[in-house]
Structures are given as C-alpha cells and as structure tokens.
C-alpha cells in the first residue's frame, strides 16, 4: 500500500509546492478577515507545513498546533486559488500528523486550554462529542446532554447561548428502516447525519415527507454512523476510516441507487473525503462508487428523479445562506435557489455575501470563540439587512450557528432547512384543496 497524505507527512510536499504565495486566499478567508494575521490564512498555514517538512519547526510546537487548528475548513481559499492548491488535503494531513504524534487528549488541551474551568473540559468534550456524534453508535446513541451541563466548557456557552432542544428520541430510533412507496421512482438511502438524528429530527421528517410525495422509496439504515467529519478534522484518521468503512458496508447492504443528504458536511464527507480517506485500500472502489451516488436533497430532486413540483403557497420573504461544505465542497448552490424561488408565494432576496461562512466550523465556534463570534456577527448583519422572515440553508450545523447568532445579535428571522420549506409547500397544497 502506497502512502497517502494522512499516513506520511512527506507526501504533502507535492501539494505544498503548488502554492505560489500569491495571497489571493486572503481576500476570501473568513478567519483572516477577522484576525488580519498571516497565520490565519491558507498561505501562512502552507508556509508552516513547509517549515515542518524542512525541520524548521516541530510538528508538536504548541503554537503551531493552535494555528493549524485555527481554520474552519470552509474551503473558500480553494475557490479563490489560482494554482489549484488542494488545501483540504494539506490541513487534514497536518492535523493527522499532529494527532499521530500527540493524540487527542493533547490536542484537546491545546484547543480548550484557555478555558476558565479546566476540570470541566473532559466532561465538556464528552458532552460536546455526543453533540457532534463523536462517539460510535454503541456508546452515544441514547445519551442526552442537558443544557446546564455545558456551562463552563466554552466561553461560547454564556448567558446568550441557546441550542435547539435535544430530542428525546433520536430520529433513527423512531423511523422505520424502509419506507416503501407505490410506483417507486427509485430507492434512495437517507444518510441522516448526527445533527438531524439528535438535534433536528423534524428536518428528517420533512425529507421523508418530500421524498414520499415524489414516489421515492427511502431506506434509513439503522446501522449507519456519524459521517466521520468531526474526528477527521481533529486528525483522527483511523476512526474516520473506520466510520467510513462501516457506512459503506451499510450502503452496500441495501439495494439503493442513490444516497440523499440534508447536511453539507455529511454530503461532502461521503462525496469528497471518503475516496481520499480510503485511497489505495480495499474500499477505494466502493467509496468512489457511492461518492458518485451522493446527492444533496436539492440536486436529488432536480437531477436524479422526476420532480413533482410543490404547488402550495408559502407566503414568506426568505433569504438563503450557502453552507460552505454544500457550496464549496459539493458545489451545490443553484439548485436550492431554483427550488425555493419556484415555491408559490415566496419572495426571495439574496443577502450581501450569501456564501460567507457563518462561523460554525464544527467545533471551531467553541474553541476559537472571539473570531467565530465576529464572523457570525457579520453574517447576522447581512441577514438582518434583508429583513427576511426566514433564512433557509442546507446544513444543520449552519442552522444551529445562525439560530444562535441571530438570537445573540438580535435578529428577527427564523432559521429553516430548505427541505422543510418544500415540505411546508406540499402540505399547504393539501390544505388548499380542503378549503
């Protein structure tokens, strides 16, 4: 087996050398825009990678670790890069090398080291892990985290902090594994992701509703796992690989033609990260096969099947936030807009920079509170200017972040998943008929 960027840091050389230090990434990096430091942006982190490889600095240098983790993995830099630098591989490769050398406890300490109440952080990490689906299914499935428990873990959990209520019963626990429809167009797997499973089960319900309306048979495999993104971004490649293999096994056990996601991060993990993670292993071909079959719900409706357009009126003024992973990794941005604009009664207004990051970045908003809050504030101001009733987005992580920051910065809009608005339209069709 030849080595990948995750196994051998030397292989990063050919990625690093493509960076010509032009600085174009500075114009788009949300972290850099707040901090104005060279180390905040891709160019600086690439220089750090070069320094590691030339032994100018050690991979376990504490500042270096903090800087390498000071990135949202939003991939905005990759969109602006004239030389096609594969920054995602670089940053994940560096994190993998740090993880291998120091392990997770060390990384946690480096990241959460500034917390006021250090003895809390282990508990905190657990709570946080459950939220993020860090635990494998067997351990974490039924655990719930009361909100009070979060106090003191991160500065972000202050008096202003709110979370969607954790659902008592996870989505996958209460939904039947196969929902067969008549005159089925196709059979699709619903990959729920942890956020829908634990935090936003209603988004899952809405997805099922929309797919049923379109005569799609839905399989929601009980034995699917976390997509692995939360462990991958902390450099824990082996766990990420294990999760990837388990998920692929779960897909292989079905007769499904496609996978549908409602989370930009999950979707981009299946589509773009699994093939890299499993490169040069027995699973490589399977990973590629399923990567080609992954659809965000919006592209699934418009490109994979014959859509039955929703006709019910939804009298709302809405705006749309591009999730970074949905837009910049999965390259989905036209379809959600097309669908939303097609809903009768909708007034669609674009916000100033719809594709600017919301500040979430997985655990970034807990570890790098100041920067994340500033990014979130700008996003909130752009939303407020639109005076929209509702912000739509295609990723539960963004929903959570925007929900929280709208509350914090006194916005009035509601946050809703694109698929929920589609479901709402289908549902009001029924009401209109009744009337």
């Amino acid at each position: 087996m030849t080595k990948t960027v995750f196994d051998d840091i030397e292989t990063l050389k050919k990625e690093l050398i493509r960076c010509m230090k032009c600085g174009n990434c500075m114009a788009v990096c949300p972290v850099y825009n707040v901090e104005k430091k060279e180390s905040s942006v891709a160019r600086g982190k690439i220089a750090l990678g070069e320094a590691v490889l030339s032994n100018a600095i050690n991979i376990d240098d504490e500042t270096l670790i903090k800087l390498i983790f000071n990135c949202l993995l939003c991939k905005s830099c990759m969109m602006a890069c004239p030389s096609g630098v594969r920054f995602d591989r670089i940053i994940l490769g560096l994190r993998a090398a740090i993880f291998k050398k120091k392990g997770l406890p060390f990384i946690k300490k480096a990241l959460f080291g500034l917390l006021k109440n250090p003895e809390m952080f282990d508990k905190g990490m657990k709570a946080f892990a459950a939220l993020q689906g860090l635990f494998l299914k067997s351990e974490g499935e039924k655990k719930r985290t009361p909100k009070g428990f979060l106090k003191g873990i991160s500065q972000r959990f202050d008096a202003q902090f709110i979370l969607p209520e954790l659902s008592r019963e996870s989505f996958r626990d209460r939904i039947s594994e196969i929902i067969q429809v008549e005159k089925s167009q196709t059979i699709a797997i619903f990959f729920t992701g942890c956020s829908v499973n634990y935090l936003y089960p209603e988004v899952g319900d809405d997805l099922i509703y929309v797919l049923k309306k379109n005569n799609v048979t839905v399989i929601t495999p009980k034995n699917q796992n976390c997509c692995g993104m939360p462990v991958l971004v902390h450099g824990d490649i082996e766990t990420a690989r294990e999760l990837a293999r388990k998920n692929i096994d779960a897909f292989e056990n079905t007769k499904a033609q496609q996978i549908v996601t409602v989370c930009g991060s999950c979707g981009s993990a299946l589509k773009n990260e699994y093939p890299i993670l499993l490169e040069r292993t027995f699973y490589e071909e399977k990973a590629k096969k399923w990567a080609n079959r992954v659809y965000d719900i919006s592209t699934f409706l418009l490109k994979a099947i014959q859509l039955k357009p929703p006709k019910g009126r939804v009298e709302l003024k809405i705006t749309y936030h591009d999730s970074c992973h949905l837009r910049k990794s999965m390259k989905v941005f036209n379809e959600p807009r097309q669908l939303l604009k097609s809903l009768p009664g909708i007034t669609f207004v674009e916000m100033k920079k719809p594709d600017a990051c919301c500040g979430s970045g997985g655990s970034y908003h807990l570890t790098n509170v100041d920067t994340s809050l500033k990014i979130a504030k700008t996003k909130t101001e752009d939303i407020k200017t639109t005076e929209a009733d509702v912000v739509c987005t295609g990723c539960p992580a963004c929903m959570m972040e925007i929900f929280e920051s709208l509350h914090r910065f006194k916005g009035i809009s509601n946050v809703i998943h694109t698929v929920s608005l589609l479901a709402q339209s289908y549902k009001s069709e029924k009401d209109e008929k009744k009337n």
Partner: protein
C-alpha cells in the same frame, strides 16, 4: 538587536495582542509572493494602529540599530517586505481605516492598510473610482501599492499609482513625523516629496496616511477581443489604435503559449492556432464617443487582418474578460513554480520584445507564456519551472538575464510595476549606471543615516 527589553518595550507601545513573538507566527512573515528569493524569519512582528506608535518604534530601533520592515499584504513580486536581516516586521493589516472621503474635492484619506478594492467599494457610493487596479487589488494594501508605485490593467488611459497620490504622512527613519501635499490639485511648495516616497519601497520612510485622488466612474464601456495569425499584426494594431487617437482603458495582449494554456485549463472556446489575442476595453462618459472609439478599434483590427468580437451584453463582456483573468491561474497550473517578470519597453517595440522572449524560451528550453499590458509595453513573461530541477533553474536565471538585457537595449526598463526589491537589485546598475547608484545611495543615507529601514532592498549598499 532585539532582546527581551526590546520586546517588552514593544508590548508597552503596541499592546500585548499586537506583538507576535512565537516562532510559528514569525515563520509566516518570512516571504512575499516572489518566487526563488531567500526567506528570513523576523525576530518580531508588530501591528501598529496609529502614527505615534510607529514613531516610538523608530526611536527604539535607532537606539538598538534594529532593522525595520514595513509590510502590507505581502503580495509584492520583488521581495520588498522580506525581513532579510531579521529585525521587526511592521504589519499594516490592522491600520486600515478610511479616514475620510471628500467627494467634492475628489479625495480620499486613508490609513496604509486599507485594501485597494475596499477603497473602491467605499467610493463607489459617490459614483467615484480610485483607478490604480493591480491584479492583486482584492488583497494588496494602498500602503504597499504606494511604496511599489503599482500599475494595473487600466494604466494606459488612467496612469498608475503615482498619478493618484496627492499627499502623505510619513514617519521618517530618524523619527520625525512629516506631512506633505494635501487636497489641492496644485502644490509646488518645496520638493515634490510625494513623488519621492511613491515607489520608495519602504526604504525612505514609513507611510502612515495617504491622500488619494479620485475620479468620476466612467459610465459607458465597450469590450472587444481580437485574434491574430501574426504577432506583427497584433503589434501594428496596438500602435494604429493610439495613432488614431483612441486611448483604451485596457489594451492587453496574450501570446500563443498563454492562449493554448488558458484554453486547455478553462475550455472557453479560444482558437488555439492563433499567435496572439488582444483584449480591448474603451470607456468614457459619453455614449457616442465610446461607440466611436469601439468602432475605430474594430476597423483597425480588421485592417490588420485580425478577427474581432465585440461584447453586446454584460455577460458577453464578462466572458471576453475571462480569457485574460485566467492567464495567470492557467499558467500556474502547469509547473510547480511560476516566475512572473515585468520587463517593459516602449510600445513601438512590443513585437520585438515578444519575439525576443520566444527565442529566449527556445534557446534555454523553457516554457514561457507571455501576457501583459500591451498598451503600456509592459509584458509579463511568465516562466514555468520546477524548483527541484537544478538544471532548469540554471537555465531560468540565464533566460531572465537575457530578457532584462533585451528590454534595456530596446530603451525599456527592468521593472514596469513590480519594483526592484531584492529580486532585481543586481541588475539595477545596468539601467541607471554608476551615477544613478551614487545618487540613490546618497538619498538613502541622507534620510536613513542608520540604514534601519528595509535594508538590503532597492539601494545596493555594496558594489
């Protein structure tokens, strides 16, 4: 030099959060956008927020003979902000306020860290523009572009940075705060200090405030593209356009290698069998005059056997520009390193220079794509190399030497817009001669007697 006391003093002056001392942070200030020049890690990075802080830093640096390196966005293409002798990097990224926009006097007063594109966004509300538009305008700072006297894509009609700077505040290397110029169009008091400091590459003083000139934004635009089977015909078109008294805002050229590479990368339907393309944009306040200019260009292109295409809609205009915008990205994909030169010749020698570059590429077996500002005679021969290939790097250096030699022999210059810095220091004498070197040294010594400001750049201290 820098010791613990120096660092504590800096923390008092700038505040803890505005001083970087960790090695990992310092490493990221060891370079700019220039390929193939030495890097050095500074001892300290500070982020000033006001002029007073910089003055205090200068006093401290003079006592200890510590080199100071001003830095904007670090997009320089000649090594300007690289801290060659360690010392302190002064990063202007956080000193980035637009102090005032005076729409009636057509001026903007800005701090040096303001990003060029941000100034343009801010003045757009008043229907105004700040014309200098280097390719890096989305990231580069006004301070850096003043220090480099940057050009841009509309230099032919609108000029370069030096034409839009009316006054400044500078902290001198000896610590005095010096303000000169102002909002008046006319000002002949004392020497023309503005033109001394524009293009001084951070070697004569630290610029802390800048008064920029603004102009009304042109209302009408027309964009044309033209393909030529012969370089000579493209060159003649350029001179004919000027001879007919049309001054386009943009008059850009791309050679065959660049066209083929762009097409290969972006698949935008460019013909790959032509020798050159010209991209032309005319603009102005009157619809009729802009139409007349566009028609004149069209006629001249046809007379010179070019195949023209004129954009009728905004979308078409954008698509014609795509080719030019893709030039650098496309070339950069081909090989790991991209060396971007900016030798410049009088417009009438454009074709001679292009042919010379092609011959040099053949002679040294290098891939060179050339594009650039044809109207300014400012070419960007872009040499694509693999830095790990020693033999290729040797050939690269020889080719660059020959390109400069040729440009000078045609009455041109080493650098049209990227500056001398360290990258072109060794060629300086061949353009300005012994007397030039003596003069530049005397100016430097008079203003910076301790040689603490950006030492090792622009001014050769040894023969």
């Amino acid at each position: 030099m820098i010791n613990q006391n120096f660092i504590s003093q800096c923390k008092i002056i700038f505040g803890h959060e505005n001083v970087l001392t960790d090695k990992a942070e310092l490493l990221t200030y060891s370079y700019d956008a220039t390929a193939g020049i030495p890097r050095e890690i500074p001892s300290l990075v500070v982020f000033p927020q006001n002029t007073k802080q910089i003055q205090e830093l200068i006093f401290l640096a003079r006592q200890t003979k510590t080199p100071i390196y001003p830095r904007g966005a670090g997009t320089c293409l000649s090594g300007g902000p690289v801290p060659l002798s360690k010392g302190v990097v002064v990063s202007f990224q956080k000193m980035n306020k637009i102090v005032e926009i005076d729409a009636d006097n057509l001026t903007a007063t800005v701090q040096p860290g303001v990003i060029i594109a941000d100034l343009n966004t801010a003045v757009a509300k008043y229907g105004l523009i700040y014309p200098p538009d280097p390719g890096s305008m989305a990231t580069a700072t006004i301070g850096g572009s003043v220090a480099e006297n940057s050009g841009g894509l509309r230099g032919l009609k609108y000029g370069v940075t030096k034409h839009y700077i009316m006054g400044m505040e500078v902290v001198m290397p000896t610590g005095e705060i010096f303000r000169f110029g102002g909002k008046t169009v006319k000002n002949v008091t004392a020497y023309d200090f503005t033109h001394l400091f524009v293009g001084s590459e951070g070697t004569l003083g630290i610029i802390t405030e800048i008064i920029c000139k603004l102009i009304p934004s042109p209302k009408y635009h027309r964009v044309l593209i033209a393909f030529f089977d012969k370089l000579e015909n493209a060159g003649k078109t350029v001179t004919d356009i000027i001879r007919n008294h049309v001054i386009p805002a943009t008059l850009e050229i791309m050679d065959k290698v660049t066209i083929q590479t762009v097409e290969n990368y972006a698949k935008i339907g460019l013909p790959t069998d032509v020798e050159a393309l010209l991209l032309i944009e005319v603009d102005g306040m009157g619809k009729d005059s802009v139409e007349w200019e566009a028609k004149t260009c069209l006629k001249i292109i046809q007379q010179n056997n070019g195949k023209p295409k004129i954009a009728e809609t905004d979308a078409e205009k954008d698509s014609l520009w795509t080719a030019r915008r893709a030039a650098l990205p496309a070339l950069a994909q081909v090989k790991p390193a991209t060396i971007l030169e900016d030798a410049t010749v009088p417009r009438t020698f454009l074709v001679d220079m292009l042919i010379a570059i092609q011959n040099i590429a053949k002679k040294y077996n290098l891939m060179i794509g050339t594009f650039g500002h044809a109207g300014d005679g400012n070419l960007h021969p872009t040499i694509l190399v693999d830095p790990t290939d020693k033999d290729e790097m040797d050939r690269l250096h020889k080719a660059v030497d020959e390109i400069f030699e040729k440009a000078l022999s045609l009455g041109g210059t080493l650098s049209g817009e990227h500056g001398i810095g360290v990258a072109k220091l060794k060629y300086l004498r061949s353009e300005i001669g012994r007397s030039g070197i003596d003069t530049i040294r005397r100016i430097k010594q008079a203003l910076d007697p301790d040689n603490i400001l950006n030492p090792g750049k622009l001014v050769p201290m040894e023969d």
